[in-house]
Amino acid sequence: MKNFLAEFKTSLLLTLVLVVLLCGAYPLAVWAGAQVLFPAKANGSLLVDANGTVRGSALLAQNFSSDKYFQPRPSAAGTGFDATSSGGTNLGPTSAKLANGSHAKDASGKDVNDPGNFDGIKDLVAAYRASNGLTDNVPVPADAVTRSGSGLDPHISLANAQLQAPRVARARGLALAQIQPLIAQSTAGPDLGILGEPGVNVLLLNTALDRIPSGK
């Protein structure tokens, strides 16, 4: 019994010592190193405009819906693009909601604001084709009509960016050739030429677009 009590005391003391070292000294050491070496990244890769206002993080997707902006992937984070509530749909491959989910309509066919409203892949495909002027036989890039795991995926695929480019050019009165270099600039990966897949960062691309004067 005496031995048992001694062991119990050791377990409590060691827990305390480890709390101090692992939960105190260690994160502070990482914090100090991170703030000295990579301050911008350690604080969220924030994008700040000329007025000093934070406009977002280079790593997190924002919602864009108008034609003059490239549009990110649909988002399941909170009510959409909620960076405090990251997550995916978690709907499975045989989910009817994921494939055919839709919005409730009233008698006149107008959308009703209903909690069951959901953009199924069928509707997302139709909307993507309509807004980008694609015919019904053009396959839609998978990333454009699926929700990412985080709901904050900052990237779209190269194919997706190319299909949206003519629409953006038209809406802004720009030539396609003026947009292409911006797409190239905003493309990241694959890392080391091998790892992962290339992607176009939508927020960086749209920020760059806003900087060039409109042709209209």
Partner: protein, 604 residues
């Protein structure tokens, strides 16, 4: 995208893993010897000695298996209670403005119990949403502590079992306190410090600021539930929420001490994320390079421990044979998951989704199909449970791989320490079966395997299957079970089966549509985690003690060789037969039937 690129990534991963196995294994040999010398001694030895002095640990004294077990249980209990109370009272602790700037309230009892059990058992199952539930203090102390200690405990127990195998006519299997302290100080902390800074360089955050509110480039309208003046959600008479349009022109960006938590989450095969989306979140896994390093960190210690095994039992080929068996099982999983995800979902392809893109639902563009499938296989082979894509949205066979990996008992590299001691249980069983086949008394590395040893092994294996299958069966027929589901049809059943496989296997990944934070779910999964951890460790330590006490029998011509291809095949066969036969009926009702229904175009 192109498959040559994916093959190169796979080769790179395997190459890197092979490259670190021996050096890290050798280092573990030095660390797990109480008298061992390492190149960090000059820096760390004084801290190690001071710790022993403060805690009253005698580093010279070794323990028998009972003493080792009692120390381990007491240490786990102390940590679990600490976390439980921190979570319950996170809003009453001092320094609220620094440690809880979001003013998050205390966590309810069953969720706190679930989370405390989850982190104590190295599972890191998340029924909580990190960024919306836990204060910085809860993350830093309540959770990060266990990321280190549960990992160190796992490695300590593996070392104790290996010592039991290596020693003969011995009474002791090491000192638990010394093992935990040395593993933490010499292995976990130094690697994490370096990895944390590398991850910050990729974009991971590490600060103590409140969340940042950004003004978005474009404002938009979204639909939210209406709330009354008191902030309570408004519902119609029949209980349906009332929805209103709301203009959104800001985005609240999560901040906090993330980079200190993530390296140990991977290296210690913990897997509990800082944010809800775990390693899919761009802060937790900013680039494909950070993704690669995190995957490598998951397998690093489990792989090196097989080398430690070989060296300690003075039979390096045995260590590599165990590695080889794990590797073949791992590779098989990667191929199945990769091909299923690349083939995509025929239902969605009929709706117009490009077939060449594969199944991108729940996946990030920067990782793509291959890195997501590889990550899913690695994280469930090892009992890590971090996810960089949502397993719930995988194709049926792509989701079967993670589930099956966990049902093997997490022995394909496995959790840190847990993978090795789990696999050694299968090794003993394989040797026993080989002995039966040739009609000789089975021997494992010069030790007779007798009825008592096999009984202990069977207890371990039966805890695994009985706990998973009984809780799954209960949840599948109970109202509380079905209430938590996000999907219907066979996929709903898969969500339940996945949850209990993950908890008993101490993995922690989920078919995350399942919603917990409800008393039945919280309690059953918490019990699964505790059973899956401690009802396995105790018989395994008893086995270690029993093996240590045995006499050594000199090898003869008839001795079974625990190396080479015959042994590997026998070991893989044992893992598959025990795993597959037990879980085949359940898997048939979930992912297998869903696979055929998906191809038939059936929706639920």
């Amino acid at each position: 995208m192109n498959s040559l690129n994916s093959w190169t990534q796979l080769a790179l991963y395997i190459g890197a893993l092979l490259l670190i196995t021996k050096p890290l294994g050798l280092y573990l040999v030095q660390v797990l010897d109480a008298q061992g010398q390492t190149w960090l001694d000059r820096l760390v030895k004084p801290i190690e000695r001071a710790t022993y002095r403060v805690c009253g640990i005698d580093p010279e004294r070794e323990q028998g298996w009972q003493g080792y077990t009692v120390s381990m249980l007491l240490f786990s209990l102390a940590g679990m209670l600490l976390t439980y109370f921190i979570l319950r009272y996170q809003d009453f602790l001092p320094f609220q403005s620094l440690f809880n700037p979001q003013k998050l309230p205390g966590v309810n009892p069953h969720l706190a119990f679930n989370t405390a059990a989850s982190f104590t058992t190295n599972t890191n199952w998340q029924f909580y949403g990190g960024e919306s539930t836990l204060s910085y203090f809860s993350q830093m102390v309540g959770l990060t502590l266990h990321n280190f200690t549960s990992a160190a405990t796992g490695i300590a127990i593996a070392a104790a079992l290996v010592r039991g195998i290596a020693r003969h006519t011995a009474q002791t299997i090491g000192n638990f306190w010394v093992d935990v302290v040395r593993v933490t100080y010499y292995v976990l902390v130094p690697i994490c410090l370096v990895l944390a800074l590398v991850l910050v360089s990729q974009g991971m955050i590490q600060n103590f600021k409140p969340y940042t509110v950004a003004k978005t480039l474009e404002s938009y309208t979204t639909s939210v539930q209406k709330t009354d003046d008191a902030g309570k959600p408004v519902a119609t008479a029949d209980g349906k929420p009332v929805m209103v349009d709301q203009v959104v022109d800001t985005q609240t960006i999560v901040q906090g001490p993330m980079a200190s938590q993530i390296p140990i989450k991977m290296l210690g095969t913990n897997g509990g994320g800082y944010v809800n989306a775990n390693a899919a979140h761009p802060f937790e896994n900013p680039t494909p390079l950070s993704n690669f390093l995190q995957m490598l960190a998951i397998f690093a210690i489990p792989s090196a421990l097989t080398w430690y095994l070989g060296r300690t039992v003075k039979n390096q080929r045995h260590g590599w044979a165990v590695w080889g068996a794990m590797f073949i099982l791992f590779l098989t999983g990667v191929f199945v998951a990769w091909q299923s995800e690349a083939a995509g979902n025929p239902i969605h392809q009929k709706l117009g989704v490009a077939a060449a893109d594969g199944n991108m639902e729940g996946k990030e563009v920067r990782f793509g199909i291959f890195s997501s499938a590889l990550f899913a296989t690695i994280t469930t082979d090892a009992s890590c449970g971090a996810v960089n894509a949502m397993h719930d949205s995988f194709t049926p066979l792509g989701g079967l791989v993670p589930m099956f990996n966990m049902q093997t008992g997490e022995v394909i590299f496995g959790g840190v320490g847990a993978g090795l001691y789990g696999m050694l249980v299968f090794v003993v069983l394989a040797v026993f079966i080989a002995g039966l086949m040739v009609g000789r008394t089975p021997e494992y590395l010069g030790k007779k395997i007798e009825a008592y040893d096999v009984k202990l092994v069977m207890i371990v294996l039966m805890v695994l299957s009985t706990t998973i299958l009984s809780f799954t069966a209960w949840a599948a027929v109970a109202d509380w079970g079905k209430a938590g589901l996000n999907n219907s049809g066979p996929h709903g059943f898969s969500e339940i089966l996945y949850a209990f496989s993950s908890c008993v296997g101490n993995n922690g990944s989920a078919f995350a549509g399942l919603s917990g934070n409800e008393i039945h779910w919280d309690t059953t999964t918490a019990l699964s985690m505790l059973f899956g951890r401690f009802l396995m460790i105790v018989p395994i330590l008893a086995l270690a003690g029993n093996l240590a006490g045995k006499k050594l029998i000199p090898a003869s011509a008839g001795t079974f060789q625990c190396e080479g291809f015959t042994f590997m095949a026998l070991l893989i066969g044992t893992v598959l037969l025990v795993g597959a036969l037990t879980f085949l009926p359940a898997l048939a009702m979930g992912p297998v039937v869903e696979h055929y229904l998906m191809h038939a175009g059936t929706l639920f």
